[in-house]
Amino acid sequence: MNTESGTVYLLDDEVGMIKALTRLLTIEGFTVRGFTSAKAFLDMYAPSEASCLVLDVAMPELNGLDLQQRLTRSGVLLPIIFLTGHGDIPMSVQAIRAGAVDFLTKPVNDADLLRAVRTALEQAVKQRDLISKTALLHERHARLTPREREVMERVVAGQLNKQIASDLGTGEHTIKVHRARVMEKMGVESLADLVRAAERLGKK
């Protein structure tokens, strides 16, 4: 049995469906947690690792699409795969637009489901990577001295050392030293990398 990283959350009001999906996904090496009510899921969900949600659209108390909105609004980045008994096009369009990974109709083919789950988990990993990288950049950025930040701002804005030196009222050589510090502290090798980091930090 090969193991896959990440947890698959299942949410369906039918225990039979949860059991069947759990079996299929467990055999394929996924860690699975099933819930029959949205409330139970929300209580238990912890965004500590890469995970995705397989969600039945027609839930009795909280409709699948509503749950999706609620999660997005509270800033949870959880890739969702919708399952539906009788999906219509407007519904699927709405779901996809709101960021759903896939919209599958029941009975669902195992290959389709597994492909969707893998995609969702990959997306989750990427999102997590992205999130963790950004967090690192923030950390590094915080370690810069105020002068280094001013230099970085101007570097990524495309100013030449000479211009920066005259702007800040120092010599060109000093700016060169600051610039090298910034590159080192931010962990980038090239100007292009620094620009991309600044973009991620929203400093551009």
Binding site: M17, A20, L24, I27, G85, P107
Partner: protein, 611 residues
């Protein structure tokens, strides 16, 4: 021939003729005691008349004495017969007086034979002869006995008895009885009184008159004969009226196609009218018995009818039944019968009278109406399935989805080495379970779609409600309708057709949902309440929707609909289904309870002991 001969012989022959007539009446009808007594009296009058005649014509003392003694026998017997006649025929007269008079008369008769000559004379010394109605007749002269007064007071007592009986009868104030009192009683009193006077005159020798009491007796006999004749005339009149009534009844029963059957339970004899015989395939002369009757019934009905008849005889005293009659070579026919049992004094059944009618045509018409109603109900069910399709698709899709996922999980499980057999088994069990669930959905669907003859069987109303709610579960949640159900813990049963009752409930539930479709989601509440109400089960479906038209009954009119695509046949069909179940279906506005309406179904409850 002298007048005496003519009168006495005519009197005798008149008496004997009457005796023969009334004797023969009694012979034919042994219960006619009055006629027998009368015949006896008439014979006695004739015999007594003969004695009188011989006495008149007797010329020797020895012969006269003998005749005088033996003449008392018919005389006393005659008086006693009259006493009995009055007791029987009038039904009045004091019993003690009756027995006193009878005893007195028997005493007089005994003294008559103890005396050397007769009751009146110790010895007849001479015969006095004189001319009477053109003939020389003899009257006795002799020494009276001391007991002669006994004979005379006997006559007086007789008179008192008759007078008492006559007055009592007269007091009854019935015209017919007064007439009898005046006529028979009056003649009895007058004639016996007259006879007594003549006897006294004779025996005292004050005024010689020949013995002619038989003529008075003849008058009495004639009066009685007249009365009896009146009775017979009346009886004939009644008989004629009876015949008329019977003819009228025959005419009426024939016109109404009614067959009549009367069974004497004690003698186990059956009489049946011609129409009845025709109805049950008996020829006019064929003897009828219960077995022959049961043989003609449809085998499925025999036991029920046997039971119905037994119940009527043992307890109810009446019955009403519908059953089928099968006569070889004839089409099957439906008969309805109503019967009443007549009980005798001991409370035992004496006879059963019943009326039967051929209701084949009614039944056929009923059957056609029922078929039409069923076809309509079926059509409405099929239409309703359009509304149900969402639910059914979901209900069917869900198990299929679970089966597919399980099956594919199983495939993957078996590809592993070593394959997980225990796991595989578990998966297969779930597959089987879900498959069953799917086929249950299909069974329900098929039952609703099926068009078959409706059946009546005891059904749990609780189950029907639960099953309908299972069918519409998804639809209700899809429409955002919440259902509150208030069902009693104990099972309430009704007699009916499962599918049709489900159809009615489905219809009411869909109507409730439609009525609430423009309500905000939180206000789409429906309730289903079942209660037990005096011998019936009531199911009430309430909604918080748009309510009813002012005239609530309108919703049950065909083609009345508030829905864009409604045919307006749902509720009328529901009502016809409920009516066919001997129930009621009506609508009410919720009024003070809030907006919306409530539909009530009321069906007769089935108690547990009824099969």
């Amino acid at each position: 021939m002298s007048w005496v001969t003519v009168i006495w012989s005519m009197s005798a022959s008149a008496c004997l003729t009457l005796a023969v007539v009334h004797g023969s009446i009694w012979f034919k009808n042994r219960a006619a005691h009055a006629n027998l007594l009368f015949a006896m009296m008439a014979v006695l009058v004739a015999v007594f008349g003969m004695f009188e005649f011989l006495l008149m014509r007797s010329t020797t003392i020895a012969e006269y004495s003998w005749l005088h003694r033996w003449g008392h026998v018919p005389a006393e017997l005659l008086i006693i017969s009259m006493l009995v006649f009055v007791r029987l025929y009038f039904g009045t007269g004091r019993a003690w007086l009756f027995w006193l008079v009878v005893g007195w008369r028997l005493l007089a008769l005994a003294l008559n034979f103890l005396s050397p000559t007769s009751l009146n004379f110790t010895e007849i010394t001479a015969l006095r002869q004189f001319a009477f109605l053109g003939e020389t007749v003899s009257v006795p002269v002799g020494i009276p006995t001391p007991w002669a007064r006994i004979g005379e007071s006997g006559i007086l007592l007789t008179l008192i008895f008759f007078a008492d009986a006559t007055v009592s009868l007269y007091r009854r104030r019935n015209t017919r009885e007064r007439h009898r009192a005046l006529f028979v009683g009056g003649s009895l009193l007058a004639c016996i009184g007259g006879a007594m006077v003549i006897a006294i005159l004779n025996h005292t020798g004050l005024f010689p008159v020949p013995y002619c009491a038989s003529l008075f007796f003849l008058l009495i006999v004639l009066a009685m004969a007249y009365e009896l004749g009146q009775d017979m005339l009346n009886a004939a009149e009644i008989a004629r009226e009876l015949g008329e009534t019977e003819q009228r009844m025959t005419l009426a029963t024939e016109a109404a196609n009614l067959g009549i059957w009367i069974r004497d339970v004690v003698r186990n004899e059956v009489w049946a009218s011609d129409k009845w015989r025709e109805m049950f395939g008996f020829t006019k002369s064929e003897p009828i018995d219960l077995n022959g009757f049961f043989q003609r019934l449809h085998p499925d009905d025999r036991e029920t009818i046997r039971q119905t008849l037994a119940n009527a005889l043992e307890r109810d005293g009446h019955y009403e039944a519908e059953y089928r009659v099968m006569i070889p070579g004839q089409p099957l026919r439906w008969i309805t019968s109503r019967g009443r049992v007549e009980f005798n004094g001991n409370g035992k059944p004496a006879c059963v009278r019943s009326v039967s009618m051929d209701i084949t045509q009614h039944k056929q018409a009923d059957l056609e109406i029922q078929l039409q109603r069923e076809a309509l109900a079926h059509l409405s069910r099929v239409t309703m399935l359009g509304e149900l399709s969402g639910s059914l698709a979901h209900e069917l899709n869900q198990p299929l989805a679970i089966i597919l996922t399980n099956a594919q999980a199983l495939q993957r499980l078996l590809r592993q080495s070593p394959p997980d057999i225990a796991g595989a088994n578990e998966i297969l069990q779930d597959i089987v379970g879900e498959d069953r669930r799917a086929s249950e959905v299909i069974r329900r669907l098929r039952a609703l779609l099926k068009h078959e003859e409706s059946t009546r069987q005891p059904l749990s109303m609780n189950e029907i409600i639960e099953e309908v709610l299972r069918i519409v579960r998804t639809d209700l949640s899809g429409r955002g309708v919440t259902v509150q159900r208030v069902l009693p813990d104990r099972v309430l049963k009704v007699l009916g057709d499962r599918i049709q009752l489900q159809q009615v409930l489905l219809n009411l539930i869909f109507n409730a949902c439609d009525a609430m479709s423009s309500n905000p989601l939180a206000d789409r509440r429906m309730s289903i309440v079942m209660t037990h109400h005096n011998e019936s089960v009531r199911v009430s479906v309430s909604d918080t929707g748009c309510g009813l038209p002012l005239e609530a009954e309108q919703v049950f009119k065909p083609f009345y609909s508030t829905k864009a695509h409604g045919l307006g046949l749902g509720l009328p069909i529901c009502r016809s289904i409920i009516l066919a179940h001997q129930g009621r279906l009506w609508a009410e506005a919720n009024g003070a309870g809030g907006p919306g309406s409530t539909f009530h179904i009321e069906l007769p409850a089935v108690t547990e002991e009824t099969p």
